[in-house]
Symmetry: C2
Subunit: 437 residues, 2 copies
Amino acid sequence: MAERVKFPIRIALLGCGTVGGGVIRLMEDNAAYLASRVGAELCIRHVLVRDAERDRVPECRREWLTTDPEVVLGDPEIDLVVEVIGGADPARSYLERAIDAGKGVVTANKLLLAQHGPELVRRAGRAGVDLAFEASVGGGVPVIRTLREALTSDWVRSVHAILNGTCNYVLTRMRDDGVSFDDAVKEAQRLGYAEADPSLDVDGHDAAQKLVVLSMLAFGADVPVSGVKVEGIGQVDQLDFRFAARFGYTIKHLAIGHDHGERIELRVHPAMIPRGSVLANIDGVLNATLIQGRALGPCLLVGRGAGDMPTAVSVVADIVDVARSRMEGEPGLSTRGIQLNQRPLLPHDEVQARYYLRFDVADEPGVLGHISTALGAHGVSIEQMMQEGRAEEVGSAVPVLIITHGATEGRVTAAMQAVAGHGFMKAPPRLIRIEDV
Amino acid sequence: MAERVKFPIRIALLGCGTVGGGVIRLMEDNAAYLASRVGAELCIRHVLVRDAERDRVPECRREWLTTDPEVVLGDPEIDLVVEVIGGADPARSYLERAIDAGKGVVTANKLLLAQHGPELVRRAGRAGVDLAFEASVGGGVPVIRTLREALTSDWVRSVHAILNGTCNYVLTRMRDDGVSFDDAVKEAQRLGYAEADPSLDVDGHDAAQKLVVLSMLAFGADVPVSGVKVEGIGQVDQLDFRFAARFGYTIKHLAIGHDHGERIELRVHPAMIPRGSVLANIDGVLNATLIQGRALGPCLLVGRGAGDMPTAVSVVADIVDVARSRMEGEPGLSTRGIQLNQRPLLPHDEVQARYYLRFDVADEPGVLGHISTALGAHGVSIEQMMQEGRAEEVGSAVPVLIITHGATEGRVTAAMQAVAGHGFMKAPPRLIRIEDV
């Protein structure tokens, strides 16, 4: 158990990019109010940066800046370390050292948490310190807080979330304005939503990391991010949007978690959801997390999933929480309250869903019969089937669209493989899962 | 300052209806986990009821039950009082007595908070105890927590909320299934969503009470509930839904708050919102609160606004918070953090909006000219005007629908009054505000 700290609460900030600058700004602008909330003054003592000469927000005082990690991590007077560097290393070793030294820790680092979250949570638990990470998922929206605090007495059945703002922006532009995938990605980069290399976003890996962080709190799950089934949005095209609308759906990139008792199911992929769904209008760069609790029922949290100021709001809220907990006789309770277990993942073949299937085929008699026979042979039954138009010239492809009834993914992919070998197939068959959320 | 309590945390429950029963059930089912979160066991000692012989949830032990308030409120060993009786009295006097005796207090009582919230908050602040009331608004959704904790460092510009499940259910059934207002209200009663007397719901007063509670936290506002402009949903009919859809809108009953600097604006009424709004798909008994923070940007929280178990989840989350705060050297911080000021309300005539206006008129030449001239004379400009169909028989009414550009409500109502006196008017003119939310 850490000793009761003396006033004030002394804070070291690791990193001073745009989020770090926002944190300093919010802390300085609201100093008196924050002090009244915590019951002690919050004083920034160090800000670790790579370049002490670069311009910072005006609220950042020169005397705080240092490029020497030793100055920051070796200072025994620091109560609370706030990490906004990002990336795996050296963030990880800095945080481990801070935890081992009995300091409260706040981080916004989803990558680190997805890779080493359970380890860091246990380490903080053993050291009797708090590890807070609201800003790692959902920007300024209190998703972590809601799962951690308000659901103290509940059991989370499932999570359906839009966790990547770039994917959501791209899909929204494609659907609403007919923009192509490539153009929409370029736009997102120009507007500062996507990284210079947007593949982490559009391939779904960013969302998978955040899903693993949410799963720690929603399901108490210690699972490797490599266990999550991940698909990006690169395969979705205008034709899929048109047929989604025709069938009453819209397409969103979803991160999905289900608690099946012992096993849990984690997957990230484009999904068709009903146009009347609460998630259907979550457009542009907004993120959303829909939690289904046994007692709570549905609970949806929506906001800007990224952006410096929303993220800074969450970091400061965490600083207040951890600082308040330092004022108690026994800090670290909220972190020790996170009870993690290694949970087996449901094999993806056993995932149960409905499916939108697309077969781009030659416009020949008997093709529909072949496809429906193959599906039937694998126990997949068809709810709706549609072939729109005729081939414009001999040999060109026409799309056959199918909505299935519920089936396991193993059966559906086996049926698709059986069809894929036929000469009438003009492109590999494709699938978008339907989530009635 | 209250003294540091001894283990365990001893709890008295005032009331044991469906919410109270849910609280007992959740506390007993999750006892070990709750204890680990708080750092001390949570023990129910008393449950105050009107009839000790009535059947309760099986988790409620007979020896807890008493009908004597003195047994409960006079027990110096109680640390925490949880009020789930509802209504103004005796809930108010019980809570005041508990606060004055230095006990932590949790309440789900929106009526009491709307009428005496600022007074109770100040009283708790003086006594150095916590007053928590997450369950008073939004059922299990952490609206209060989000406003109070996560927005510690932010400034809330506005709140747009769907706060009454009965209104939302009725409007959803009217829109989606063509059910009449009266039938939809009867349905809501039959399904247990509406009270036996549903007027508090459908007239908007329940939503107004909740808006006043939200305003305390969003705007630090100490305002009387009588200052809120309130309209119910009784005037909305199928024709309005049809034209809303035609213009690209849907109709929701909204509670709206704006911070204008010194003055604040509070109103509760049906509103047309764009069909693509994040609030447009919040249907049935779901509630939603959309917060706009300066740093945070938009933040939407959605869930079941009522219901015993969602509300019980919030009560238990509050119990954990207040109990944890009792474990600190200095409880009452989160309540003292609520800084309330008497805020002047913006006169409703000065509210700025766009409007859908409906004039049921005789089908005569010159009527559109009269109406548009009257609007122009009052400085209200027209964005769209529509007269659908012709009168089916001589003397019957046809609706003229108008969408205005932005105007103050004073101008719009003056123009409507000028038109109302004409012989061609077959019914009083009506208005639904348009919120581009």
